[in-house]
Protein backbone atom coordinates (compact mmCIF):
# COMPACT_ATOMS: atom_id res chain seq x y z
CA UNK A 1 0.00 0.00 0.00
CA UNK A 2 1.26 3.45 -0.86
CA UNK A 3 2.02 5.55 2.18
CA UNK A 4 -0.02 8.40 0.70
CA UNK A 5 -3.08 6.10 0.58
CA UNK A 6 -2.46 4.95 4.10
CA UNK A 7 -2.52 8.57 5.25
CA UNK A 8 -5.95 9.02 3.68
CA UNK A 9 -7.43 5.82 5.09
CA UNK A 10 -6.27 6.56 8.62
CA UNK A 11 -7.07 10.25 8.50
CA UNK A 12 -3.47 10.76 9.47
CA UNK A 13 -1.66 14.03 9.80
CA UNK A 14 1.86 14.44 8.52
CA UNK A 15 4.13 15.71 11.28
CA UNK A 16 7.27 15.52 9.21
CA UNK A 17 7.37 14.86 5.50
CA UNK A 18 11.06 14.04 4.87
CA UNK A 19 10.33 12.77 1.33
CA UNK A 20 7.52 12.15 -1.11
CA UNK A 21 4.97 9.76 0.35
CA UNK A 22 3.94 8.71 -3.16
CA UNK A 23 7.06 6.67 -3.62
CA UNK A 24 6.89 4.77 -0.36
CA UNK A 25 5.30 1.36 -0.54
CA UNK A 26 4.36 -0.29 2.75
CA UNK A 27 4.30 -4.06 2.84
CA UNK A 28 5.07 -4.80 6.49
CA UNK A 29 4.20 -3.14 9.77
CA UNK A 30 4.86 -3.68 13.46
CA UNK A 31 3.29 -2.14 16.54
CA UNK A 32 4.75 -1.80 20.01
CA UNK A 33 5.62 0.66 22.73
CA UNK A 34 8.85 -1.17 23.44
CA UNK A 35 11.91 -0.12 21.51
CA UNK A 36 13.55 -3.52 21.89
CA UNK A 37 10.63 -5.18 20.13
CA UNK A 38 11.40 -3.18 17.01
CA UNK A 39 15.09 -3.67 17.37
CA UNK A 40 14.68 -7.44 17.69
CA UNK A 41 11.95 -8.28 15.23
CA UNK A 42 11.91 -5.60 12.60
CA UNK A 43 12.04 -5.76 8.84
CA UNK A 44 13.70 -3.09 6.70
CA UNK A 45 11.18 -0.70 5.14
CA UNK A 46 8.44 -1.56 7.61
CA UNK A 47 5.95 0.88 9.06
CA UNK A 48 6.68 1.46 12.74
CA UNK A 49 3.45 1.95 14.71
CA UNK A 50 3.73 3.15 18.29
CA UNK A 51 2.12 5.14 21.06
CA UNK A 52 5.52 6.25 22.31
CA UNK A 53 6.16 9.64 20.78
CA UNK A 54 9.73 10.36 21.87
CA UNK A 55 13.04 11.16 20.19
CA UNK A 56 14.16 7.58 20.92
CA UNK A 57 11.37 6.37 18.65
CA UNK A 58 12.92 8.33 15.80
CA UNK A 59 16.41 6.98 16.39
CA UNK A 60 15.02 3.46 16.69
CA UNK A 61 13.18 3.87 13.39
CA UNK A 62 16.36 5.15 11.84
CA UNK A 63 18.59 2.25 12.89
CA UNK A 64 16.06 -0.39 11.82
CA UNK A 65 15.62 1.42 8.48
CA UNK A 66 11.86 1.84 8.81
CA UNK A 67 10.00 3.50 5.93
CA UNK A 68 7.76 5.58 8.13
CA UNK A 69 6.68 6.20 11.72
CA UNK A 70 3.01 6.25 12.70
CA UNK A 71 1.92 7.50 16.12
CA UNK A 72 -1.49 6.37 17.38
CA UNK A 73 -4.04 8.03 19.66
CA UNK A 74 -3.13 11.40 18.18
CA UNK A 75 0.32 11.53 19.82
CA UNK A 76 2.90 14.02 18.66
CA UNK A 77 6.50 14.65 19.47
CA UNK A 78 6.94 17.44 22.02
CA UNK A 79 7.90 20.72 20.38
CA UNK A 80 11.23 20.99 22.18
CA UNK A 81 12.51 18.13 20.03
CA UNK A 82 11.85 19.92 16.75
CA UNK A 83 15.52 19.87 15.92
CA UNK A 84 15.66 16.09 16.18
CA UNK A 85 12.53 15.84 14.04
CA UNK A 86 14.04 18.03 11.35
CA UNK A 87 17.06 15.76 11.18
CA UNK A 88 14.90 12.65 10.79
CA UNK A 89 15.10 11.20 7.28
CA UNK A 90 11.88 9.22 7.79
CA UNK A 91 8.30 10.55 7.40
CA UNK A 92 6.39 10.87 10.68
CA UNK A 93 2.59 10.56 10.80
CA UNK A 94 -0.04 10.60 13.51
CA UNK A 95 -3.58 9.19 13.58
CA UNK A 96 -6.31 9.62 16.18
CA UNK A 97 -7.25 5.94 15.99
CA UNK A 98 -6.17 3.59 18.74
CA UNK A 99 -3.33 1.15 18.31
CA UNK A 100 -5.78 -1.74 18.05
CA UNK A 101 -8.04 -0.17 15.45
CA UNK A 102 -5.15 1.21 13.41
CA UNK A 103 -3.60 -2.23 13.20
CA UNK A 104 -6.90 -3.94 12.41
CA UNK A 105 -7.50 -1.54 9.56
CA UNK A 106 -4.02 -1.92 8.11
CA UNK A 107 -4.23 -5.68 8.31
CA UNK A 108 -7.43 -5.52 6.29
CA UNK A 109 -5.60 -3.57 3.63
CA UNK A 110 -3.19 -6.46 3.34
CA UNK A 111 -0.24 -5.07 5.26
CA UNK A 112 1.68 -7.96 6.73
CA UNK A 113 3.18 -8.52 10.18
CA UNK A 114 6.86 -7.59 10.39
CA UNK A 115 7.31 -10.30 13.04
CA UNK A 116 5.70 -12.78 10.62
CA UNK A 117 3.40 -14.25 13.25
CA UNK A 118 0.61 -13.93 10.64
CA UNK A 119 2.23 -16.52 8.43
CA UNK A 120 -0.09 -19.30 9.65
CA UNK A 121 -2.97 -18.04 7.49
CA UNK A 122 -1.16 -16.44 4.62
CA UNK A 123 -1.17 -17.94 1.16
CA UNK A 124 1.32 -15.70 -0.48
CA UNK A 125 4.53 -16.84 1.14
Amino acid sequence: MKLSNLVKELNARILHKAKSLENIEIEYAGASDLMSDFLAFSKPNMLLITGLATPQTLTTASVIEASAILFVRGKTIPKNFLEIIEECEIPILTTDFSMYYTCAKLYQYGIKDAMETDKENRYDT
Binding site: L34, S36, L39, L52, Q56, T57, T59, S62, V63, F81
Partner: protein, 311 residues
Protein backbone atom coordinates in the same frame (compact mmCIF):
# COMPACT_ATOMS: atom_id res chain seq x y z
CA UNK B 1 55.46 14.85 14.09
CA UNK B 2 54.68 18.09 12.34
CA UNK B 3 56.71 21.22 13.18
CA UNK B 4 53.61 22.72 14.84
CA UNK B 5 53.09 19.77 17.15
CA UNK B 6 56.78 19.79 17.95
CA UNK B 7 56.46 23.41 18.97
CA UNK B 8 53.42 22.67 21.07
CA UNK B 9 55.24 19.82 22.75
CA UNK B 10 58.15 22.14 23.55
CA UNK B 11 55.82 24.71 25.03
CA UNK B 12 53.97 22.33 27.26
CA UNK B 13 57.14 20.56 28.27
CA UNK B 14 58.56 23.83 29.62
CA UNK B 15 56.18 23.59 32.55
CA UNK B 16 57.60 20.23 33.43
CA UNK B 17 61.21 20.81 32.44
CA UNK B 18 62.52 19.61 35.81
CA UNK B 19 60.80 16.26 35.74
CA UNK B 20 63.26 13.36 35.77
CA UNK B 21 63.54 11.14 32.70
CA UNK B 22 63.24 8.15 35.04
CA UNK B 23 59.66 9.11 35.68
CA UNK B 24 58.69 9.38 32.03
CA UNK B 25 60.59 6.57 30.32
CA UNK B 26 59.20 3.18 29.38
CA UNK B 27 60.78 0.66 31.68
CA UNK B 28 62.10 -1.93 31.24
CA UNK B 29 63.10 -1.47 27.62
CA UNK B 30 62.97 -4.29 25.12
CA UNK B 31 66.61 -5.08 24.39
CA UNK B 32 68.68 -7.51 22.31
CA UNK B 33 72.18 -8.94 22.58
CA UNK B 34 74.92 -8.43 19.95
CA UNK B 35 74.69 -12.07 18.83
CA UNK B 36 71.02 -11.83 17.92
CA UNK B 37 70.33 -12.16 14.18
CA UNK B 38 68.93 -9.27 12.18
CA UNK B 39 66.04 -11.53 11.25
CA UNK B 40 65.07 -11.94 14.90
CA UNK B 41 65.32 -8.21 15.49
CA UNK B 42 63.08 -7.60 12.51
CA UNK B 43 60.50 -9.98 14.01
CA UNK B 44 60.66 -8.36 17.44
CA UNK B 45 60.11 -4.95 15.85
CA UNK B 46 57.16 -6.26 13.93
CA UNK B 47 55.50 -8.00 16.86
CA UNK B 48 56.18 -5.32 19.47
CA UNK B 49 55.53 -2.49 17.00
CA UNK B 50 58.75 -0.69 17.87
CA UNK B 51 61.33 0.85 15.58
CA UNK B 52 64.53 0.49 17.55
CA UNK B 53 66.15 -1.50 20.37
CA UNK B 54 69.16 -0.98 22.61
CA UNK B 55 71.82 -3.66 22.21
CA UNK B 56 73.20 -4.87 25.53
CA UNK B 57 75.92 -7.14 26.86
CA UNK B 58 75.77 -9.08 30.06
CA UNK B 59 74.40 -7.08 32.98
CA UNK B 60 72.37 -4.91 30.60
CA UNK B 61 75.48 -2.90 29.71
CA UNK B 62 74.81 -0.77 26.66
CA UNK B 63 76.95 -1.42 23.56
CA UNK B 64 74.85 -0.13 20.71
CA UNK B 65 71.45 0.49 19.23
CA UNK B 66 69.71 -1.10 16.27
CA UNK B 67 66.93 0.66 14.44
CA UNK B 68 64.73 0.32 11.39
CA UNK B 69 67.22 2.40 9.41
CA UNK B 70 69.93 -0.18 10.13
CA UNK B 71 67.61 -2.98 9.06
CA UNK B 72 67.03 -1.21 5.76
CA UNK B 73 70.79 -1.08 5.26
CA UNK B 74 70.96 -4.83 5.87
CA UNK B 75 68.24 -5.45 3.32
CA UNK B 76 70.22 -3.45 0.79
CA UNK B 77 73.73 -4.70 1.48
CA UNK B 78 73.69 -7.60 3.90
CA UNK B 79 71.99 -10.81 4.99
CA UNK B 80 69.18 -11.32 7.46
CA UNK B 81 71.32 -13.99 9.14
CA UNK B 82 73.98 -11.42 10.02
CA UNK B 83 74.41 -10.59 13.69
CA UNK B 84 73.23 -7.36 15.23
CA UNK B 85 76.80 -6.51 16.17
CA UNK B 86 77.75 -6.02 12.50
CA UNK B 87 75.06 -3.49 11.78
CA UNK B 88 74.23 -1.70 15.00
CA UNK B 89 75.14 1.92 15.64
CA UNK B 90 77.85 2.02 18.27
CA UNK B 91 77.88 5.71 19.01
CA UNK B 92 74.65 5.80 21.01
CA UNK B 93 73.12 9.01 22.30
CA UNK B 94 71.85 8.29 25.78
CA UNK B 95 70.13 9.92 28.70
CA UNK B 96 70.62 9.26 32.38
CA UNK B 97 67.74 8.53 34.64
CA UNK B 98 68.36 11.70 36.60
CA UNK B 99 68.40 13.87 33.46
CA UNK B 100 65.32 16.02 33.06
CA UNK B 101 62.65 16.55 30.46
CA UNK B 102 64.46 19.67 29.31
CA UNK B 103 67.57 17.53 28.66
CA UNK B 104 65.41 15.28 26.54
CA UNK B 105 64.07 18.25 24.59
CA UNK B 106 67.55 19.59 23.82
CA UNK B 107 69.07 16.22 22.90
CA UNK B 108 66.17 15.36 20.64
CA UNK B 109 66.44 18.73 18.96
CA UNK B 110 70.11 18.22 18.37
CA UNK B 111 70.08 14.67 17.05
CA UNK B 112 66.53 14.01 15.82
CA UNK B 113 66.70 10.35 16.75
CA UNK B 114 63.48 8.58 17.54
CA UNK B 115 64.58 6.99 20.81
CA UNK B 116 67.20 7.30 23.50
CA UNK B 117 68.19 4.51 25.89
CA UNK B 118 68.08 5.57 29.53
CA UNK B 119 70.93 4.30 31.70
CA UNK B 120 71.91 4.52 35.35
CA UNK B 121 75.34 5.40 36.66
CA UNK B 122 76.53 1.81 36.18
CA UNK B 123 75.92 2.09 32.43
CA UNK B 124 73.02 -0.31 32.79
CA UNK B 125 70.02 0.15 30.46
CA UNK B 126 67.00 0.72 32.66
CA UNK B 127 64.56 2.07 30.10
CA UNK B 128 63.97 3.88 26.85
CA UNK B 129 62.40 7.21 26.06
CA UNK B 130 60.69 8.43 22.89
CA UNK B 131 58.58 11.49 22.11
CA UNK B 132 55.65 9.21 22.43
CA UNK B 133 56.51 8.51 26.09
CA UNK B 134 56.70 12.24 26.73
CA UNK B 135 53.35 12.88 25.09
CA UNK B 136 51.62 10.08 26.99
CA UNK B 137 53.13 11.24 30.23
CA UNK B 138 52.07 14.84 29.58
CA UNK B 139 48.57 13.78 28.66
CA UNK B 140 48.24 11.84 31.85
CA UNK B 141 49.64 14.73 33.85
CA UNK B 142 47.36 17.27 32.23
CA UNK B 143 44.48 14.87 32.59
CA UNK B 144 44.90 14.57 36.34
CA UNK B 145 45.92 18.14 36.92
CA UNK B 146 43.34 20.01 34.96
CA UNK B 147 40.51 17.68 34.28
CA UNK B 148 40.40 16.21 37.76
CA UNK B 149 38.64 13.23 36.41
CA UNK B 150 40.08 9.81 36.95
CA UNK B 151 37.90 8.20 34.35
CA UNK B 152 39.36 10.35 31.64
CA UNK B 153 42.81 9.39 32.77
CA UNK B 154 41.87 5.79 32.17
CA UNK B 155 41.05 6.48 28.55
CA UNK B 156 44.24 8.37 28.00
CA UNK B 157 46.31 5.66 29.58
CA UNK B 158 44.85 2.92 27.50
CA UNK B 159 46.18 3.39 24.03
CA UNK B 160 45.10 0.07 22.70
CA UNK B 161 42.82 -2.78 23.51
CA UNK B 162 43.48 -6.43 22.93
CA UNK B 163 40.42 -8.05 21.45
CA UNK B 164 38.92 -10.69 23.71
CA UNK B 165 37.35 -12.22 20.61
CA UNK B 166 40.36 -12.62 18.34
CA UNK B 167 43.41 -11.64 20.40
CA UNK B 168 44.22 -8.91 17.87
CA UNK B 169 45.33 -5.48 18.92
CA UNK B 170 42.60 -2.89 18.40
CA UNK B 171 44.65 0.24 18.01
CA UNK B 172 43.28 3.58 19.16
CA UNK B 173 45.00 5.28 16.30
CA UNK B 174 43.20 3.19 13.71
CA UNK B 175 39.69 3.86 14.97
CA UNK B 176 37.32 4.65 12.12
CA UNK B 177 34.56 6.19 14.23
CA UNK B 178 34.16 7.23 17.83
CA UNK B 179 31.43 8.85 19.85
CA UNK B 180 30.96 10.08 23.41
CA UNK B 181 27.76 8.87 24.98
CA UNK B 182 25.92 11.51 26.97
CA UNK B 183 24.20 9.66 29.77
CA UNK B 184 22.32 12.59 31.24
CA UNK B 185 19.35 12.46 28.88
CA UNK B 186 17.39 9.38 28.00
CA UNK B 187 16.08 11.19 24.92
CA UNK B 188 19.53 11.27 23.41
CA UNK B 189 19.69 7.49 23.18
CA UNK B 190 20.42 6.48 19.63
CA UNK B 191 22.36 9.61 18.67
CA UNK B 192 25.60 7.67 18.49
CA UNK B 193 24.04 4.72 16.67
CA UNK B 194 22.47 6.94 13.99
CA UNK B 195 25.74 8.84 13.55
CA UNK B 196 27.58 5.56 13.12
CA UNK B 197 24.94 4.46 10.64
CA UNK B 198 25.44 7.48 8.38
CA UNK B 199 29.19 7.11 8.69
CA UNK B 200 29.07 3.49 7.51
CA UNK B 201 26.65 4.41 4.71
CA UNK B 202 29.09 6.97 3.39
CA UNK B 203 31.74 4.27 3.32
CA UNK B 204 29.52 2.20 1.07
CA UNK B 205 29.21 -0.76 3.41
CA UNK B 206 26.53 -3.39 2.76
CA UNK B 207 23.11 -2.19 3.93
CA UNK B 208 22.23 -5.37 5.76
CA UNK B 209 25.45 -5.26 7.68
CA UNK B 210 24.96 -1.60 8.56
CA UNK B 211 21.55 -2.43 9.94
CA UNK B 212 22.94 -5.14 12.22
CA UNK B 213 25.77 -2.90 13.41
CA UNK B 214 23.50 0.07 14.09
CA UNK B 215 20.89 -1.95 15.96
CA UNK B 216 23.53 -3.53 18.18
CA UNK B 217 25.16 -0.17 18.81
CA UNK B 218 21.79 1.29 19.70
CA UNK B 219 21.16 -1.36 22.33
CA UNK B 220 24.59 -0.94 23.87
CA UNK B 221 24.28 2.84 23.84
CA UNK B 222 20.86 2.59 25.52
CA UNK B 223 22.33 0.43 28.25
CA UNK B 224 25.06 2.93 29.02
CA UNK B 225 22.53 5.74 29.34
CA UNK B 226 19.93 3.77 31.27
CA UNK B 227 21.96 1.51 33.52
CA UNK B 228 25.60 2.51 33.88
CA UNK B 229 25.32 5.89 35.66
CA UNK B 230 28.44 6.96 33.79
CA UNK B 231 29.37 8.41 30.47
CA UNK B 232 30.56 6.03 27.81
CA UNK B 233 32.27 5.66 24.47
CA UNK B 234 31.55 4.01 21.17
CA UNK B 235 34.51 2.90 19.07
CA UNK B 236 34.25 1.34 15.64
CA UNK B 237 36.99 -0.15 13.49
CA UNK B 238 36.28 -0.78 9.84
CA UNK B 239 38.58 -3.65 8.90
CA UNK B 240 38.94 -5.32 5.54
CA UNK B 241 37.00 -8.41 6.53
CA UNK B 242 34.99 -7.26 9.53
CA UNK B 243 33.51 -4.44 11.54
CA UNK B 244 34.55 -4.25 15.16
CA UNK B 245 32.68 -2.44 17.87
CA UNK B 246 33.64 -1.51 21.39
CA UNK B 247 31.17 0.18 23.68
CA UNK B 248 32.43 1.00 27.13
CA UNK B 249 31.33 2.81 30.21
CA UNK B 250 32.90 3.48 33.59
CA UNK B 251 29.84 2.93 35.70
CA UNK B 252 28.45 0.47 38.13
CA UNK B 253 28.97 -2.68 36.05
CA UNK B 254 26.81 -5.76 35.71
CA UNK B 255 26.54 -7.92 38.79
CA UNK B 256 25.58 -11.16 37.11
CA UNK B 257 26.36 -11.24 33.41
CA UNK B 258 24.75 -14.62 32.81
CA UNK B 259 21.49 -13.43 34.27
CA UNK B 260 21.65 -10.13 32.35
CA UNK B 261 22.05 -12.05 29.09
CA UNK B 262 18.71 -13.80 29.57
CA UNK B 263 15.79 -12.51 27.53
CA UNK B 264 13.40 -10.59 29.73
CA UNK B 265 15.81 -9.87 32.56
CA UNK B 266 15.84 -6.19 33.38
CA UNK B 267 16.50 -3.97 36.35
CA UNK B 268 15.08 -0.89 34.60
CA UNK B 269 12.97 1.51 36.65
CA UNK B 270 9.32 2.35 35.98
CA UNK B 271 10.36 5.67 34.52
CA UNK B 272 12.73 4.00 32.09
CA UNK B 273 10.03 1.51 31.11
CA UNK B 274 7.63 4.34 30.35
CA UNK B 275 10.22 5.52 27.84
CA UNK B 276 10.08 2.27 25.90
CA UNK B 277 13.06 0.52 27.44
CA UNK B 278 13.49 -2.24 29.96
CA UNK B 279 12.14 -5.25 28.12
CA UNK B 280 15.33 -7.12 28.92
CA UNK B 281 16.02 -7.64 25.24
CA UNK B 282 19.06 -5.46 24.64
CA UNK B 283 21.91 -7.85 25.40
CA UNK B 284 20.16 -10.82 23.71
CA UNK B 285 19.62 -8.59 20.67
CA UNK B 286 23.30 -7.73 20.48
CA UNK B 287 24.10 -11.42 20.65
CA UNK B 288 21.58 -12.12 17.89
CA UNK B 289 22.80 -9.47 15.46
CA UNK B 290 26.55 -9.74 15.94
CA UNK B 291 28.67 -12.67 14.79
CA UNK B 292 30.69 -12.65 18.00
CA UNK B 293 30.16 -10.82 21.22
CA UNK B 294 31.66 -10.64 24.67
CA UNK B 295 30.92 -8.71 27.84
CA UNK B 296 33.66 -7.66 30.20
CA UNK B 297 32.27 -6.28 33.41
CA UNK B 298 33.57 -5.39 36.80
CA UNK B 299 31.23 -4.19 39.49
CA UNK B 300 31.98 -0.57 40.25
CA UNK B 301 34.30 -0.19 37.27
CA UNK B 302 32.10 -0.46 34.22
CA UNK B 303 31.15 -2.56 31.26
CA UNK B 304 32.88 -3.21 27.96
CA UNK B 305 30.89 -4.79 25.15
CA UNK B 306 32.92 -6.03 22.24
CA UNK B 307 31.23 -7.17 19.05
CA UNK B 308 32.46 -8.48 15.72
CA UNK B 309 30.51 -8.50 12.45
CA UNK B 310 31.87 -10.32 9.41
CA UNK B 311 31.67 -8.54 6.08
Amino acid sequence: MTPESNKLLEKISQFFSNIRIGEIMTSPAIVVTPETSIKQVKNIMKIKKISGLPVVKRGLKLTGIISIEDIIKVLENGKLEDSVERWMTKDVKILYEENTLSDFMSISQKYKFGRYPVINNENKVIGIITKYDVISWLFEKLGTMYIHDDRRKKILEREEYTSRLTGELLDNKKISFDFDIDYTEIQRIGTGATKLKSFLKKKGIDEKLIRKVSISTYEAEANVVIHSESYGKIFCWDFEDSIRLLIKDYGKGIENVEMAMQEGFSTASEEVRSQGFGAGMGLPNMKRFSDKMTIISEVGKGVIIEMLFYK
